[in-house]
């Protein structure tokens, strides 16, 4: 069963990838412009850190690593599971009907429906930022891959939870998108800027801490304990997301219509 789902996911990703690169010109433009977008954003940090050497213990290299980590994880998310940001609309518009008739898990199918070419730009620029930070040696490459994957899983899980609210609340596109953007926004700023209750929220409801801060801690000083915590948390959020989606699916009202996805 699990092996079957993994093989289906792999086929879905491969098909999406082929569809994405089919329009080669548009693909290249989106990738290049997204990478440019990320580098331009980082000019802010570069200019700021010309004036101060550290921000509560964080140096420019640490911020580069955080930025790269989040960009790569985000890129991986929207490339492989681009449908996550459209789940709310699928639910509201009854677009899950066509997936319900298929013999594969609805959530996996829905997540794989919209691969974003710009995600490759995020992924590539994120990796460049990580290398550029000068804090990673080649020997740590496997850890980099593991933490990026775990961070992406948390992104997918959070997106699934936020957008699945549509099962119960109806039109939640705006609210869910805002929650998603808040998660991305908070994860891009250094951890020591946030304290108190907000810090608690960033490690629970809006887990920017697990998307960006903990992975960066792991990359700076790898420890088995932190890697285990990250894996445990990623698995936990994913299970929660699947549980919530499946609960919601029981309440799903069919749109009674024919739709073609492509």
């Amino acid at each position: 069963m699990v092996a079957d789902n993994v093989s289906f996911t792999r086929a879905l990703v491969a098909t999406n990838f082929k569809a994405t690169v089919a329009l080669r010109g548009a693909f290249v433009i989106q990738v290049v412009f997204m990478a440019l977008n990320n580098f331009t954003f980082f000019i802010f940090w570069w200019a700021l850190m010309q004036h101060v050497t550290t921000l509560r213990g964080w140096q420019l290299g640490d911020i580069q690593m955080l930025f790269g980590m989040v960009a790569a994880a985000f890129g991986l998310t929207v490339t492989v599971a681009g449908g996550v940001r459209h789940l709310g609309r699928f639910i509201e518009d009854g677009d899950l009907d066509t997936l319900l008739t298929q013999p594969k898990p609805v959530l996996v199918n829905a997540l794989g429906l919209r691969s974003q070419p710009s995600g490759f730009g995020d992924l590539v620029s994120g990796l460049i930022f990580i290398v550029w930070s000068g804090q990673i040696s080649w020997s740590r490459l496997p850890i980099v891959v593991v933490v990026i994957a775990a961070s992406a899983v948390i992104f997918v899980a959070c997106g699934t939870v936020f957008f699945s609210l549509a099962f119960w609340l109806g039109r939640v596109e705006t609210v869910a998108t805002q929650l998603w953007e808040l998660l991305v926004t908070f994860s891009l700023y250094p951890e020591p800027l946030f304290g108190g209750t907000l810090r608690l929220l960033l490690f629970t409801v809006l887990p920017a801490g697990f998307v960006g801060y903990l992975p960066v801690r792991i990359l700076r000083a790898p420890s088995l304990a932190n890697v285990t915590i990250l894996m445990f948390v990623a698995t936990g959020y994913l299970c929660l997301a699947v549980l919530i989606f499946n609960r919601g699916l029981r309440r799903y009202g069919s749109g009674s219509r024919f739709t073609t996805f492509g």
Binding site: A26, I29, Q30, V32, F33, M34, L36, N37, T40, F41, I43, F44, A47, L48, Q50, H51, V52, T53, T54, L55, R56, S118, R171, T174, V175, T177, Q178, E181, L182, T185, F186, Y189, P192, L193, F194, L198
Partner: protein, 263 residues
């Protein structure tokens, strides 16, 4: 422009303002996002001050600077998305035959949205900046920022219109928007006053509309007297004119190349 023409386009603005007033979810979302950004940056500027960076008089004025720049930027409705969709679907063709200019009608629609968003977001900016700093800039500074900021938002709306029209050639204008947004971010001094960027960025910014649209109106709250209201007004008039000419030229070029297939 006759009174009848003005009334016609004012009707577009009125309709969009009424719709925006009814569908406030997106606006509330923006207000929440605005509050969070100001919270994050008030924390950032405190950390910067702790690190001993010789920025403006104090970190409080930088939070107000950000409140002003974000207010100007977030108030401008992203009308390029609707325009892009209308062009991609071909709906724009039906509009070409109407007794109203497509460009002016879209601009008027955007202005109606701006008129609803600006007061809400302005209030959010004021309340949040005050809550995070416990301080307000002098009233004389706010009286300059508000009208000039509103005009700047109007010009940004017109620029969004221009970006949307690029869909006639590009189909997907998102990449252009991303880069435009980030140029605004850096060359406009969205989060960091331009004086803190290296000299070559400041020199490059001077050739673009971005500083006149964001940094110049917002820097009034820093109390640096870097720009006078007269110079600000002149720059905004110049860039409004340039934007109007560019958008109108783009639309004429686009319409002359459109192929309409009947059916």
């Amino acid at each position: 422009m006759s009174a009848g023409t003005i009334a016609k386009y004012a009707a577009f603005s009125r309709i969009s303002a009424t719709q925006a007033g009814r569908e406030r979810n997106e606006l509330y979302g923006r207000m929440a996002f605005f509050a969070v950004i100001l919270g994050v940056f008030s924390s950032l500027w405190r950390a910067v001050a702790e690190a001993g960076m010789p920025v403006a008089a104090d970190p409080k004025s930088l939070v107000w600077y950000l409140a002003a720049t974000e207010w100007i930027l977030l108030s401008a409705p992203p009308i390029h998305l609707e325009i892009q969709e209308a062009i991609r679907r071909g709906d724009v063709v039906y509009r070409l035959g109407h007794p109203a200019s497509y460009v002016l009608a879209e601009f008027a629609t955007g202005f109606g949205l701006l008129a609803v968003r600006a007061p809400f977001l302005g209030l959010t900016a004021f309340l949040c900046a005050f809550a995070f700093t416990g301080w307000t800039p002098p009233l004389s500074a706010l009286l300059i920022v508000v009208p000039f900021g509103f005009v700047a938002s109007t010009v940004i709306t017109a620029l969004y219109l221009g970006i949307g029209l690029l869909a006639f050639w590009l189909q997907d204008v998102a990449p252009v928007y991303w880069v435009w947004q980030k140029l605004m971010f850096v060359l406009g001094g969205l989060m960091l006053p331009l004086e803190l960027y290296p000299a070559f960025i400041q020199r490059a910014a001077a050739f673009t509309p971005f500083p006149s649209l964001l940094a110049a109106p917002a820097s009034v709250v820093l109390g640096t007297n870097a720009v006078t209201p007269g110079a600000l007004a002149r720059n905004l008039v110049i860039w409004s004119g340039v934007t109007a000419i560019a958008v109108s030229w783009m639309f004429r070029r686009a319409v002359s190349t459109v192929t309409i297939n009947g059916g």
